[in-house]
Amino acid sequence: MKRALCTALVPVLACLLLVSCSEKQDFGQYDDLAVIPTVEASLLYIEAPERIINQVSGLNFVQQTFNFDAFAEAFVSERLVDGSVRYRVENTTSKPLELTVEFLDEAGNTLDAETFTIGPAPTAVLVREIAYGPGGRSIDIIRNTSSIRVSAENLGDNSSVSTLPNPMITLQSSAQFRIRLK
């Protein structure tokens, strides 16, 4: 009996060892793995009521440069693939206005500028989407942006008041970019 069991087990074990194998694997495929999520975030919101616009003498009622390090973060700037910035401008004041958004590099040089000229209410909402990367403007603009300058000009008078409730100009914006994680 012992001999029989032994005779049976040894080949079983030997077979197990011999048949243990693996189909061909190609670990080099890892190099082809691309993890590129598309992330979306609000960027900038500007709101200027008409009463404030009327109070400011001169053309420029807003001239503001502010630090914006979101794109300059190494993790983001080194991995940016392409994307777009979407703007939505709405004017419910009684005067024509002009808004300019400039992307500046670390030295303060203008890398890109977008100007929105919009007539007095009633007027259509202005929506614009700017692409960056292949087929659009250089993605380096985004990579090198360190600050944003916003300026707004009153192209009308300083006395008229819109009949609409709570008249103001607003600029909404969001950015959508693909980032290569791997």
Binding site: M1, K2, L5, C6, L9, V12, L13, L16, V19, S20, C21, S22, E23, K24, Q25, D26, F27, Q29, Y30, D32, L33, A34, V35, P37, T38, V39, E40, A41, S42, L43, L44, Y45, I46, E47, A48, P49, I52, F61, V62, Q64, F66, N67, F68, D69, A70, R86, R88, I148, V150, T170, Q172, S173, S174, Q176, R178, I179, L181
Partner: protein, 481 residues
């Protein structure tokens, strides 16, 4: 570094899940002394045993429940990005897990009481490393797809659950045959922690919605925690003088690190001469993590809509840094903090149970002698002397996502004293085709055992969800020699 990462990935995916700590082949295999580690109330007939240092018990187990190496790396001409997206990112659920464990006995031994032969004492030291990480569902989808065009979708931060530890165990146990049919046992354990990481109590979400002012509003509501101990000193030793690493490691292993206490308890009860039930509860205990402990927390809720310039408030301070204000606001609402407070962790408690029917011609203790069926303390138990046994086992373990269980059917066969084998079929949520085989060889006082499960998986190991291997070498004396 990439090769090392891939070696880990292959190790995790290619070898083998829940099985990571289920030693179904060794449980109730009472011809092997190490079975006492799984049931201190196991009924054995050893007079004494001594494990060969470092070689008396080596167990390697790993697994993944939802995916294999083959699923991703098969040389099948398909784009790896499609395979990862379909089979991992979209294919895995948050209950899928990756596990790995290694146990190595450093020292083990046991002896029967001289004046109380009904008592069998066993002791030893073993090193244990184990790791489990659940598939982080929503976080993986966020990393793969991003949050764009997914208004209103809440990415659940609670999907992050992972735990890993490396520690050494000093143990001493007693198995006592309290009556003709009942054997009870207990084991005290002293844990000496080397390293520990844990992030299992997370909750919260990240969501993008239409904004009130701006186009989008992003809300982060997080209650997250990551704890570790022992890592900093090991890192410093590795960064400073790599030669110090072994000394630091050994110092931790031998009671110089985190300390904890625990116990095991078990029993064997013979319903009749042929029907036997057993059960054990293992690793009821805790560990106090006081060696360079770190606890990182992210706790709070914030909603942002980007940089907001609202007149006339924005004109008040022309030098205002809106971006930094936004960053500061978020950091104040959802502070990321860390502390060095000592923390407590509980051992993942395990439960085993079995019912066994012994049958066939009894194995004589000495060639030519009939079985001694009149059981006295210390003598060979009749229930152990049958040539065949058929039974069922159940295993359960407490996991970060709740208890998990496995059911095993087994057949045991003894060929005299020199060979015993155990074949198992195990079913759990990961596999319904897990066949295992364990063999114990004896040559005089020398005992060798080999065990492996999921044998069908060896046909293509890369496509296997689970596998384990156990090996051991002992010197022993039992009722027959």
């Amino acid at each position: 570094m990439k090769r090392v990462l891939w070696a880990c990935w292959v190790g995790l995916l290619g070898l083998g899940p829940l099985q990571a700590q289920n030693m179904e082949l060794l449980y109730d295999f009472t011809e092997i002394p190490q079975a006492l580690l799984l049931n201190p109330g196991a009924r054995t007939d050893f007079n004494w045993y001594a494990g060969v240092p470092v070689l008396s018990g080596l167990s390697l187990q790993a697994g993944s429940s939802g995916i294999t190496v083959h699923d991703i790396f098969a040389d099948d001409g398909l784009d790896i990005n499609d395979k990862v997206r379909e089979r991992a990112v979209d294919g895995l659920s948050i209950r899928d897990e990756f596990t790995a464990s290694v146990r190595m006995e450093v020292l083990s031994g046991g002896f029967r009481g001289k004046y109380h032969p009904e008592n069998f004492y066993s002791f030893g030291i073993y090193m244990d490393a184990n790791f489990i990480s659940y598939w982080p569902g929503d976080l993986a989808q966020l990393a793969w797809y991003g949050n764009a065009n997914q208004l209103g979708r809440r990415f659940n931060l609670g999907h992050l659950k992972t735990r890993g530890e490396l520690f050494q165990v000093f143990h001493f146990g007693v198995s006592r045959q309290v009556s003709r049919r009942l054997t009870l046992g207990g084991r005290a354990k002293l844990f000496s922690g080397i390293a520990h990481v844990n992030s299992a109590r997370n909750s919260g979400f990240f969501v993008t919605n239409t904004g009130q002012n701006n186009l989008l509003a992003h809300t982060l509501s997080a209650q997250m925690q990551f704890q570790s101990s022992g890592l900093e000193a090991l890192r410093q030793a590795a960064d400073g003088d790599p030669g110090e690493l072994p000394a630091t490691f050994l110092g931790r292993a031998f009671l110089g690190g985190d300390l904890g206490l625990g116990f095991d308890a078990g029993f064997t009860y013979e319903l009749t001469d042929q029907w036997v039930v057993t059960g054990s509860l293992l690793d009821v205990g805790f560990m106090l993590h006081s060696t360079d402990p770190k606890t990182f927390t992210l706790d709070g809720r914030a909603t942002v809509e980007g940089v907001e310039i609202i007149l006339p408030e924005a004109l008040a301070d022309p030098n205002r840094d809106f971006w930094q204000d936004l960053v500061d606001e978020v950091e104040a609402l959802v502070p990321f903090e860390d502390n060095n407070k000592t923390y407590l962790s509980f051992r993942p408690t395990k439960l085993y149970g079995s019912v066994r029917y012994n049958f066939g011609e009894p194995v004589s203790n000495r060639p030519g002698e009939p079985c001694d069926c009149d059981i006295t303390p210390g003598s060979t138990a009749a229930a152990l002397s049958y040539r065949n046994a058929l039974g069922a086992q159940v295993f359960a373990i407490n996991r970060p996502r709740g208890p998990q269980a496995a059911l095993t059917g087994f057949y045991m066969r003894m060929v005299g004293r020199w060979l015993a084998m155990k074949a198992t079929y195990t079913a759990d949520k990961y596999s319904l085709t897990n066949l295992g085989l364990g063999l114990q060889f004896r040559a005089g006082p020398v005992q060798l055992y080999l065990m492996g499960n999921n044998l069908l998986g060896y046909r293509n190991i890369a496509d296997s969800h689970t596998a384990s291997f156990q090996f051991g070498l002992n010197i022993l004396s039992s009722g027959s020699n």
